[in-house]
């Protein structure tokens, strides 16, 4: 029974409309059963679970050496930060030491992944709002063009474009080939220049601001109460970023500032993410300048299943992914397979805020709000 708030229009009967699961702006597989009064939404029931593969049961049957490349399939748009969460949880239980170079590489890859993920967010959001045959598609193609450059970097480093298996317990599996750093510097310089173009096209563009200012406002209390995190939390005025508040993998060696907007509406989230673009570029430059030499893993490469054994214990490792706090709560029983793994997906909680803020907005706003929440359904359904 959707939580329907009684808005009494005189006699106009209600229209129940299905948005999804294969709706063009559904960002993957999500179905919202909207009850409409004319154009405004009066009731929302979200149906998820279409992409459910039970990662948590899989984690109980796959060893510590196998699961990182499967962990990247939870949030397939930000694979690096998903793997990092799992690997850090195991390292925290077993007190495995990670060499300095591996920590720097992890930071570098997470920030590159943030840029690529934010590119996809901006592109699909504008495509939702602007129409596939209109201005939205233009910005979508610009963003995809930039994202391809970052994916090429990942491809020359790891060999794959989206799902890497880059991390392993105790460090990373690949080192940077020569000539990669120069290519990386060239790419982020180009992206920085292209960012100014996106902002010129969108920032004070009346069509864009009309669609986003004051739409889908999330209050500070509601944000914390539902567990919304990342750009949504910082868009609602909360200065909370795991990279700075609870630094992991030597994030405290780098200077970067955390954007916070007070309004909490779609435009605030847009501003937060655009500033995050630039901060990630700033971090990448600092990492590339200070990359130490040395080994990339404190344990030998994967040779057999029983190679990594994590002693008995529990740990909750939190990573600041592009969509928010990606956490992996790991219970280890000393064997080479975890006893229980809970995956805290950022998009799951970010999506849980939708039924609270969609009541009362128009159908077109539902699309704009969905885009600004930027859910990825591999992470929602796990």
């Amino acid at each position: 029974m959707p939580d329907v708030r009684a808005i009494d229009y005189a006699g106009s009967e209600r229209l129940t409309m299905n948005m999804g699961p294969q709706h063009p702006s559904a960002h993957g597989v999500f179905r919202a059963i909207l009850t409409l009064e004319g154009e405004t939404v009066v009731g929302v029931d979200a149906v998820i679970g279409y992409l459910h593969r039970c990662h948590e049961k899989l984690a109980e049957t796959l060893a510590y050496v196998q699961y990182p490349s499967i962990a990247s399939k939870t949030d397939y748009v930000a694979a690096m930060s998903s793997e990092l969460a799992y690997v850090m949880a195991a390292e925290r239980i077993g007190q495995f030491e990670v060499p300095k170079r591996a920590q720097y590489l992890r930071v570098l890859m997470s920030e590159l992944q943030r840029i690529a993920s934010h590119c996809l967010w901006l592109g699909t959001w504008c495509m939702d709002m602007g129409g596939a045959l209109g201005g939205g598609a233009t910005i979508f193609l610009y963003c995809i063009r930039e994202r391809e450059l970052v994916l090429d970097l990942f491809e020359s480093l790891v060999g794959a474009r989206l799902l890497y298996g880059f991390h392993q317990v105790g460090g990373v599996r690949y080192d940077i080939p020569e000539g990669w750093t120069a290519e990386c510097r060239k790419t982020i310089a180009l992206i920085e220049q292209r960012l100014d173009e996106y902002e010129a096209m969108l920032d004070d563009n009346p069509f864009f601001t009309m669609r986003t200012k004051g739409v889908g406002a999330i209050s500070r209390a509601l944000a914390q109460d539902v567990g919304v995190s990342g750009p949504l939390l910082r868009g609602s005025g909360l200065n909370w970023d795991l990279r700075r508040n609870q630094p992991y993998s030597s994030y405290d060696d780098f200077q970067f500032d955390v954007p916070v907007q007070a309004a909490g509406d779609c435009f605030a989230r847009y501003r937060v993410r655009m500033v995050e673009f630039r901060q990630s570029i700033r971090i990448i430059r600092q990492v590339l300048d200070g990359l130490p030499a040395g080994p990339i893993s404190s344990r030998p490469g994967v040779k057999s299943l029983a190679q990594v054994k994590v002693p008995k214990g529990e740990a909750y490792a939190r990573v600041e992914g592009p969509r928010g706090e990606v956490g992996c709560f790991l219970v280890a029983d000393g064997s080479n397979k975890p006893y229980r793994m809970k995956w805290r997906g950022a998009s799951f909680s970010n999506l849980a805020v939708l039924p609270h803020i969609l009541i009362g907005c128009g159908v077109a706003d539902v699309v704009a709000i969905m885009g600004s929440v930027d859910p990825v359904f591999g992470e929602v359904d796990r």
């Binding site: 567990g227 909360l238 809970k342």
Partner: protein, 157 residues
């Protein structure tokens, strides 16, 4: 913020939490692990939110300890004086009912539905307890250790 009190640090929070009935505190540094008796579950959550100011709800899940029964874990954060409270309650062998904290934290609504979906834990007081990820007519609760033990080594192709 909640009831005006001085700069709440994790040390003070630990003492305040210890005074609550049915709660034994452990854990080091900024993470306070609170073992809660299952009948004090909702009061402990309410206390954490109001007195300790843990407004940020991170997640709620369960662990199936086979014969010792199911243990429900909730992780809440105080973002200003950064410390985290890990509320844990053992439901006892064979018990699958637990108090719902969806009234305290709205984020727990979906998390508890997922816990019911995966573990079969019935949260009484939950406004709309039904399966969230699996189909409504799905038989069994996958994350229980007793589930699908007989199926051969994956893949299930």
């Amino acid at each position: 913020m909640t009831a005006g009190h001085d700069r709440l640090t994790d040390v003070r929070a630990r003492e305040m939490l210890a005074t609550v009935a049915g709660v034994t505190v452990s854990g080091t540094g900024a993470t306070i692990v609170a073992e809660v008796a299952s009948d004090h579950w909702r009061e402990a959550a309410q206390f954490a939110k109001d007195a300790l100011g843990c407004a940020f709800f991170s997640f709620l899940t369960a662990i199936d300890w086979k014969d010792q029964g199911i243990e429900v874990v909730a992780w809440v954060d105080n973002l200003d004086a950064p410390f985290a409270v890990e509320l844990r309650t053992k439901l006892g062998p064979g018990v699958t009912a637990c108090a719902s904290i969806a009234a305290v934290y709205r984020g727990a609504n979906w998390m508890e539905r997922e816990c019911f979906d995966m573990f079969g834990v019935r949260f009484d007081g939950h406004p709309d307890l039904r399966r969230i990820l699996l189909a409504d007519d799905w038989a069994g609760h996958p994350l229980l250790k007793s589930y699908a033990v007989d199926t051969p080594h994956p893949p299930y192709r």
